[in-house]
Amino acid sequence: MEPAAAPGDARYGVPAAQWLRLEARRVRQPLRRAALLTALAAPAMVGQAWLLSAVLYEAVFARAPLSRLWLPWFGLLALAALRFALSIGARRSALLAAQSLAQSLRARLLRSAQRLGPYGLRREASGDLITRLVDGIDAVLGYFARYLPQVAGAALIPPILVLSVFPADWISGLVLLLTAPLIPLFMVLAGSAAARASERRYAQLTRLGASFMEALGGLVTLRQLGAARRVAQRLEGEGEEYRALTMKVLRIAFLSALVLEFFATVGIAVVAVLIGFRLMWGELTLRAGLFVLLLAPEIYSPLRSLGALRHTRMDALAAAQQLSALEDIPPAVGATAAGVARAPLAAAPEIRIERLGYAYRDRGAGLSECSFTLRAKRVTALVGATGAGKSTLLNLLLGFAAPDSGHILIDGADLATFDLAHWRAGVAWVPQQSHIFEGTVRENLQLADPGANAGALRRAAERSGLAAVLARLPKGWETQLGERGVGLSGGELQRLALARALLRESAKVWLLDEPTAHLDAEGARAVETVIRAAAATRTVLLVAHRLSAAHLADWVIVLGDGRVIEQGAPLELARSRGAYNALLEAAR
């Protein structure tokens, strides 16, 4: 996967913006309602200005008492309430749109991410994926809930207001008509360069923040090396350098804001002075003049608010870039086309691997023409150098991927015809590095059998050696594990994984990936005893990256470059001068 493009990067922009537009289409209805409610505020503003100018006109020229002005006074009150209601309504609609979008996005993106497949996901730094899924969606949410309605406001309100000025005073109308559209125009002219600059600045700020947090995260290593203070100085220097550079950019970037402010302010000033003189010359009524003056700032206000939300848009674009990349993940190679067969499995099925072939998209062959048999009630060990195809074979057996050619026959029935959930229900799997789920020890174990009772849990814990781990944990079975709980060491994890396998008593097949890797000699021997016992009623496949684990097997299969290069009983193989012997020698 490519590193995510920084905001301001040339690649980002069009596709991300397009993606956001496409997403917006999914919630067109509530977004339109939000835009309509926002735009409805404009007539209300006109009404307010009209009534207020009437009241003030009466006060100035007729010194009218309040008793004569109650009607416009209450009119103003009603319009204030109406605007309040409209603003809440608009925001609610936009929020509704954003949230329904967020929910469907989350589900959709999770599915796309899972398309990477179990092993692809592990390779990806999934911390980064999570950041994209959670923070990215939040950033996009802000865009729909706040930025888009403001865009609608900036597009709809000023024209309505300018048009309504014309009947009162066409000269002011002309001034406003000329200055207001100039603002976006000038902003585009002064802004395109400035926007790029400010996007770059934003990216740099993010990078600076990242290197600060990185230094903080690696503080232990820095202290070990005695480099913490030096890095602190470096960070300070970088910050200073960045500040000088940024300020140079900002002086230009803020020019677009200056243009906006200048036009908005000068527009009001020109209108006020022009109106003043024409009032004196008697060319205009005070009422019309006040009306225009009251509306003038409202014309520029939506545009200014939009400028303030620019960061929301930039955040959303950066997020959209990453989210759309997530959607582009192709389905895993040979995505499993599952069958429907749910025939019951024999107590210890014989598994025949027939001329199995599997190729990875991005690296060399995984397996080719690989054939062997896992015999019932036997422990078969799979050995071979890294890349020989051991993990690939395990993946295919678990149905995480489908073979390109050849078959896996379970007591003669092709695995491809099986309902995978049904097949997996009969399998117990001990991976090399188990994932710990957020939850208690009990919940983590019950993944293998949600209905398991206390007795079954205890038995599994005792036989796997997890009981010793539990004794150490502050709350025993109820100890919270995972990110926010207690961490387990590699050896403890393996015991947990083994306990899971033991808990699933109905399992007919055990697939073990280096189950003793993190254990000391004593622990490893205990686990081997459990495996031997399990094999009495099951079919057991043991992948051994370290050869020492292979000696407990009844049969050893040596893989090399995706095919079987030797097989036999471990002691015989060790005595012969073949591949297994060579591997043993190399390990010494």
């Binding site: 006060a59 925001r91 911390g127 960045y242 003043g276 995480f400 254990l519």
Partner: protein, 574 residues
């Protein structure tokens, strides 16, 4: 004792930002200038056109030059002031941000790792990041709008008191409601949801992480749908909370506008009466009306500032609490002298991580004379890592002591001590610096020839040649662009450059596949040459050639110390 105006957290933050107070005050002053100019522009314009209309109707003469010039001046002050304000406030923000980060970093250095649990948990670390973020936004998002609103309202009140005293009360009430009372009410209403939302967001993050990282387990054991349902339920709950909060915010934001209109209507009542009585010049009523409306333009941003203010308080409390944590060690003023080849002695060393935790080291006696090559083996939890933490002066002992070069660790400065100990570990971190900078982290004075030599010895030369920018290539965040084996080699070269008399190897080949691990054995041997070697591992296989003796640890105690050949023989027999 009177109650201080500002909460201690804010005063503390302002103290840290003190060196930048000129910039900060300047930015706030410019913001105020621009805001006052905007208010003045509207108020004066209103008065001006009313006065001109009256003069025109009466055929009277009027000095229009002065107000017209003032209107132009206000216009220029406002647009120019806004530009200057933005420049200066950003300058202040950037300076403050750099200052805050550097201050915090300096404070956190002595806390790692014993007192900095945030470094071990992704979630705590993310929270620290968000907290720092909140503190960095304090000036722009809270301080400036609050100061501007406060002074603007005061100025508005002053004008009202002079022109139409009866208008002061509604103005004050309206401003208080829109700027303080309503946001505070919202804050209180939303507080529960906000706290819950933080917790649930973390939970959602965790569940998503489980769904992705644990996807294989979920597939194998059959829990994909259950996990998806859990995520959906969590997200729905979280979204509902956020909706409630956002709705409250919408009400508060809308209410600021409503308050402005209501205040205007309330001002009109005595204003119209005063004009009718002849107690108030009508043109001034126009001015006051427009003044009220434009003052509320300045108050409106406060509805966003108050939540930020609370975020600052919460974040600041946590950050300062962390920054004020006393370090695990008080470093001595001067460092005791060290011999060129120091011995390491643990004397009845006892260590535990919490009062109620079991002993991680339970009376360890261990001597490593200069040049000794010792492996410490044992299952996880046997105390191997604690041994290292004690030696590096990262964790204090509760009982017993450690001598390094004949000196108790208390007499040595941690940095000096650690300069004498090079570490090659599974968890050594690479930084997004250039390769060269990563290599010389522990030896900043190393010259090109020394670097070249270390790289050759660590067999990194071909890797360096393959890099697009050679030594200047950036390694990516967390060294992400480097493979596991190369990362370990970089650590070896780093240790070689540090040239310390003691070398600690902490699971040096863990996490690497067998082939890569085997390829490292030679380089590790090179690194170990002529040094005291302490190898920490749960399994000796493959690394036995690096040591002469093996210490077996069990439950925080030393179970045996035997020559490596005896240990291997015993292993083989078992």
């Amino acid at each position: 004792m009177h109650k201080p105006l500002l909460p201690p957290v804010v005063r503390r933050l302002l103290t840290v930002l003190r060196p930048y107070r000129a910039w900060m005050a300047g930015g706030a002053a410019l913001a105020l200038l621009a805001a006052l100019a905007a208010i003045g522009l509207m108020a004066l314009s209103g008065w001006f056109i009313a006065a001109m209309a009256l003069a025109g109707a009466a055929g009277a003469a009027i000095d229009y030059f002065t107000p017209a010039a003032a209107i132009r001046a206000f216009a220029i002050l406002r647009s120019g002031g806004r530009y200057a304000e933005r420049l200066v406030t950003h300058e202040a923000t950037l300076r403050g941000l750099a200052g805050l980060r550097s201050w915090l970093f300096q404070r956190l250095i002595p806390l790692a790792p014993a007192r900095l649990s945030a470094l071990r948990s992704g979630e705590l670390f993310a929270r620290l990041r968000a907290d720092i973020d909140a503190l960095e936004h304090f000036y722009l998002a809270v301080l400036v709008p609050a100061a501007v609103a406060l002074v603007s309202v005061a100025a508005g009140l002053l004008v009202a008191l002079i022109v139409l005293p009866a208008a002061a009360v509604p103005l004050l009430l309206g401003a208080l409601s829109a700027g303080v009372l309503l946001p505070a009410w919202m804050q209180r209403r939303a507080a529960h949801d906000a706290a819950q939302a933080v917790r649930e967001a973390a939970e959602l993050r965790g569940s998503l992480l489980d769904a992705l990282r644990g996807h294989a387990e979920l597939l194998a054991w059959g829990g994909v749908e259950a996990q998806a349902a859990r995520i959906d339920a969590l997200a729905t709950r979280l979204d509902a909370r956020r909706t409630r909060t956002e709705r409250l915010q919408a009400v508060t934001a809308g209410a600021a506008g409503l308050c402005g209109q209501l205040t205007l209507l309330a001002v009109l009542v005595p204003g119209l009466a005063a004009v009718h009585r002849g107690a108030l010049t009508p043109t001034l009523l126009v001015m006051v009306s427009l003044l009220v409306l434009s003052v509320f333009e300045v108050i409106a941003p406060l509805s966003e500032a108050l939540p930020q203010w609370h975020a600052t308080l919460v974040a600041g409390t946590r950050v300062f609490e962390l920054a004020d944590t006393p370090p695990a060690f008080l470093e001595p003023e001067i460092c005791a002298p060290l011999p060129p080849a120091p011995a390491i002695v643990f004397e009845r060393a006892c260590l535990r991580y919490a009062e109620d935790a079991p002993w991680a080291l339970d009376g360890v006696d261990l001597t490593l004379s200069p040049g000794a090559r010792v492996a410490v083996v044992g299952a996880s939890g046997a105390g191997k890592s604690s041994l290292l933490a004690a030696l590096l002066k990262f964790h204090p002992l509760q009982k017993g002591r450690v001598l390094f070069g004949g000196q108790p660790l208390e007499a040595l400065q941690g940095d000096t001590l650690r300069r004498h100990i090079a570490v090659i570990a599974q968890h050594t971190v690479l930084f997004n610096l250039s390769l060269r900078d990563n290599l010389v982290l522990g030896a900043p004075d190393a010259d090109a020839a020394q670097i070249e030599r270390a790289v050759t010895l660590a067999r990194l030369d071909r890797f360096v040649a393959s890099l697009p920018d050679g030594y200047d290539t950036l390694l990516g965040e967390g060294g992400g662009l480097v493979s596991g084996g190369e990362a370990r080699r970089i650590c070896i070269a780093r240790a070689l450059l540090q040239d310390a008399p003691v070398l600690v190897l902490d699971e040096p080949t863990e996490g690497l596949d067998t082939r890569t691990a085997r390829e490292l054995y030679v380089e590790l041997e090179v690194a170990a040459r002529n040094r005291t070697v302490l190898l920490i591992t749960h399994r000796l296989s493959g690394l036995a050639h690096l040591v002469e003796e093996v210490v077996v640890m069990h439950a925080g105690r030393i179970a045996a110390r035997v020559p490596v050949s005896d240990y291997l023989a015993r292993e083989r027999a078992a």
